[in-house]
């Protein structure tokens, strides 16, 4: 069992996310994260699905996805060098005296403070999953009030498509 990142190009149709996620659910495939958004072509969306599976399951996943009429292309992009990123917004308790400390962590991670309240700060972090995990871990001691992660979006490096 390994982690795989799969890019799925789909027709921009109502219900297409339901078709894809439903397929994963009923066939017993795991979804760690799923993101959807516009692709480079009008009328097509790109879904990026992070999943844990063995080779046989991965093969089934791709073949079953292709059976959906709205699915146009399925790519296991993790088989190539890729860039994978997610975004997290973390709201931490931050009384004025703790702020410098928190800022230190934010700077080290090249994250950004995007909002400050009287007793809290909102931090935005962008990076691969490991980086976001580490960032969250470091924020934990200050008291995370709210956390929102987008899930991974990804692309293969270089000129190939």
């Amino acid at each position: 069992m390994r982690k795989h990142t799969i890019a799925v190009i789909v027709n921009d149709q109502p219900g297409v996310l339901q078709r894809v996620s439903g397929l994963f659910g009923r066939r017993g495939f795991n979804i760690e994260s799923i993101t959807v958004g516009q692709s480079e072509e009008k009328g097509l969306s790109r879904m990026v699905i992070v999943t844990t599976s063995d080779d046989k399951m991965l093969d089934q996943m791709s073949k079953q996805l292709y059976k959906l009429i709205d699915v146009i292309k399925v790519d296991d992009i993790s088989s190539n060098p890729m860039v994978a990123r997610e975004l997290a917004l973390i709201k931490v308790t931050a009384l004025p005296e703790r702020r410098p400390e928190i800022m230190g962590i934010v700077d080290t991670f090249r994250a950004a403070v995007v909002d400050i309240g009287t007793e809290s700060m909102m931090v935005q972090a962008v990076g691969d999953t490991d980086k976001i995990d580490a960032m969250i871990e470091l924020m934990q001691p200050y008291g995370i009030v709210e956390l929102s992660r987008t899930g991974v979006t990804a692309m293969v490096r270089g000129n190939i498509k």
């Binding site: 219900g15 078709r19 397929l23 089934q60 073949k63 059976k67 009429i69 292309k73």
Partner: protein, 581 residues
């Protein structure tokens, strides 16, 4: 048959009549588009959300519409029509309860790869999502059991959607396609622009030419095999490849077993045919699979009723799998050579190079010996009627040429075992989902498709009561289906499991309270007969055959009879319980 039978017009005539670019309603667009797809028969049931469609059908005679008595009857009839013809079956139901009544039938067709175009009405778009009266999210409900579905938002899209739906339903791995039409769309007026161009759907392509290297490897494997076996499934029938399969078997001399859905895809009289494999398969077929060194799967999906315990299935065999659905290759059984393609196309290519499996002489003799020594058998009785005997009698009196549909249960397995099929599309049964209530209405669909053929519907006394109401449409439309009820007074197959697996603990299988089936038939205006011994059985059956219209024959059979051979769930297919004969 039906006096109101539609007179089929040629496509040209229809185009002439219908193709004027009128401004018409979505409902009329729907009807014209169906005609363009060559539809001659639709099964349906009206209701609020489809009243514009039914209004457009008022006085409409270009195709038959059969009003069933339950939506489940309509969809199984459409399914039977599709299985008997290879053309998509069409059915219409209203929103909400009408649509949800179709769910079992859609799932049945999906599991067996049967092409259907299912049209449902929905509430007007402004009400969608408000829990309006008779609203159900039928596209959402049926997503896991349809090949594709559409929610139509604009009547102008209807011609394209219907054209695509028929294409999707009946190409590649076939299956049901749902078209959900909100009421305002079926009322909306717009200019009708017929969709006549070939369908192009991005990312949905016909399978490419079969892989030549894989075919070469297959030919090579046949040359080397000492114990080769062919496992042929429904894919052979669906792709119309029965002649190609026969040619392949004749050229290679490899013994062949046909799955439940593959019955009729290969002539049962051929000496290389071993019968059906699996849970109620023959000794010869199961032992051949288990001991094979080469297993060639042609259009079967390695269903668990065939493989039984997977880890113990055909362990010494090199596995070749030919399938139109690439996802089936390697799904259940690891495959050494996978060939993705339409069975007919692949076998045509294979047949050009196929040579006899010369190393398999001893194997063939062993199989012939097994066929001789372990035939299907049962202990006959002169006192009680035996269900197997009834099936044999039906086979003999129809020369094996009837279209036979069955319901689900013991009678289904006996029909599969004792009625010998020689032609494709003569056997209609719910394999994948195993749907009780399917048998009788599917026979109605088959009879609508083939008014000239003899259609025999074989049912249990349990399943017959799940769609018996459709006797009305046989009577009203004079649909001459011969309905057989194998009455053992219990839910037979459940009784068998409770006897063998649950230690004779019979729980809730007694069908006491069943109607008098002869009177039930008569209540609907259909001739009814009953038989309790061989002599009565022959006579009643002959009378039913001589009846010009529909007829019901109830055969009261021995209550405790079981289907053998049998493999228990969890066992391997070589662990067969052979029975008492």
């Amino acid at each position: 048959m039906s006096s109101g039978q539609a007179t089929m017009r040629s496509k040209e005539e229809l185009r002439e009549k219908w193709m004027k670019p009128d401004v018409i309603t979505g409902s009329e667009i729907l009807l014209r588009s169906l005609l363009l797809e060559g539809v001659d028969c639709v099964f349906g049931y009206p209701g609020g959300a489809v009243l514009f469609i039914y209004d457009a059908m008022h006085g409409f005679t270009d195709f038959n519409h059969l009003l069933t008595r339950h939506e489940q009857g309509a969809i199984h009839a459409a399914d039977g029509y599709a299985r008997a013809t290879g053309k998509p079956g069409v059915c219409i139901a209203t929103s909400g309860p009408g649509a949800t009544n179709l769910v079992t039938g859609i799932a049945t067709a999906y599991m067996d790869s049967v092409p259907l175009v299912v049209i449902t009405g929905n509430v007007a778009q402004q009400f969608i999502g408000t829990d309006a009266f008779q609203e159900a999210d039928i596209t959402g409900i049926t997503m896991p059991i349809t090949k594709h579905s559409y929610l139509v938002r604009d009547a102008a899209d209807l011609p394209r959607i219907i054209h695509e739906a028929f294409h999707i339903a009946n190409t590649g791995r076939k299956g049901p396609v749902l078209i959900d039409i909100p009421k305002d769309v079926s009322a909306q007026k717009t200019t009708f622009v017929p969709a006549l161009e070939p369908v192009v759907i991005r990312g949905y392509d016909a399978p490419a030419e079969p892989n030549g290297e894989a075919i070469t490897a297959m030919i090579q494997a046949i040359q080397e095999a000492e114990r080769p076996v062919i496992l042929a499934g429904g894919g052979v029938v669906y792709s119309g490849a029965h002649n190609e399969l026969l040619e392949f078997v004749t050229k290679t001399n490899i013994p062949v077993t046909t799955t439940l859905l593959g019955l009729g895809g290969f002539p049962s009289g051929n000496e290389l045919w071993m019968g059906m494999p699996g849970m109620h398969g023959t000794y010869t077929a199961n032992m051949a699979i288990q001991n094979s060194d080469l297993l060639i799967n042609i259009g079967a999906r390695f269903d668990d009723r065939v493989t039984m315990k997977l880890e113990a299935f055909a362990q010494q065999a090199k596995v070749i799998h030919i399938d139109i659905d690439p996802a089936e290759i390697g799904k259940n059984v690891p495959t050494d050579i996978g060939i993705h393609g339409d069975i007919k196309v692949v076998l045509t290519a294979v047949n050009q190079a196929a040579k006899p499996a010369t190393k398999a002489e001893a194997w063939r003799s062993l199989i012939q010996a097994n066929k001789r020594d372990y035939p299907l058998s049962y202990e006959d009785s002169e006192v009680e009627l035996k269900p197997q005997w009834v099936i044999e009698m039906i086979h003999e009196t129809t020369n094996g040429e009837a279209i036979v549909s069955t319901d689900v249960g013991q009678h289904q397995m006996w029909a599969a075992q004792y009625y010998k099929f020689n032609q494709p599309r003569s056997w209609i049964t719910s394999g994948g989902l195993g749907t009780m209530g399917f048998g009788f209405p599917s026979a109605i669909g088959a009879q609508m498709a083939h008014p000239e053929r003899l259609v025999v519907s074989i049912n249990g006394d349990g399943g017959m009561q799940m769609c018996a109401q459709e006797l009305a449409i046989c009577a009203i439309n004079n649909i001459p289906v011969k309905v057989v009820i194998i009455n053992n007074q219990v839910l037979g197959m459940v009784r068998q499991w409770q006897e063998i697996i649950y230690d004779n603990r019979y729980s809730h299988i007694d069908l006491a309270g069943s109607p008098d089936f002869v009177k039930l038939a008569e209540a609907y205006g259909v001739k009814g007969f009953r038989a309790t011994n061989k002599e009565e059985a022959s006579r009643a059956w002959q009378e039913a055959l001589n009846t010009p219209g529909p007829a019901v024959v109830e055969f009261v059979v021995r209550k405790g009879e079981n289907v053998f051979p049998m493999v228990k769930a969890g066992d391997s297919i070589s662990q067969m319980i052979m029975g008492d004969a």
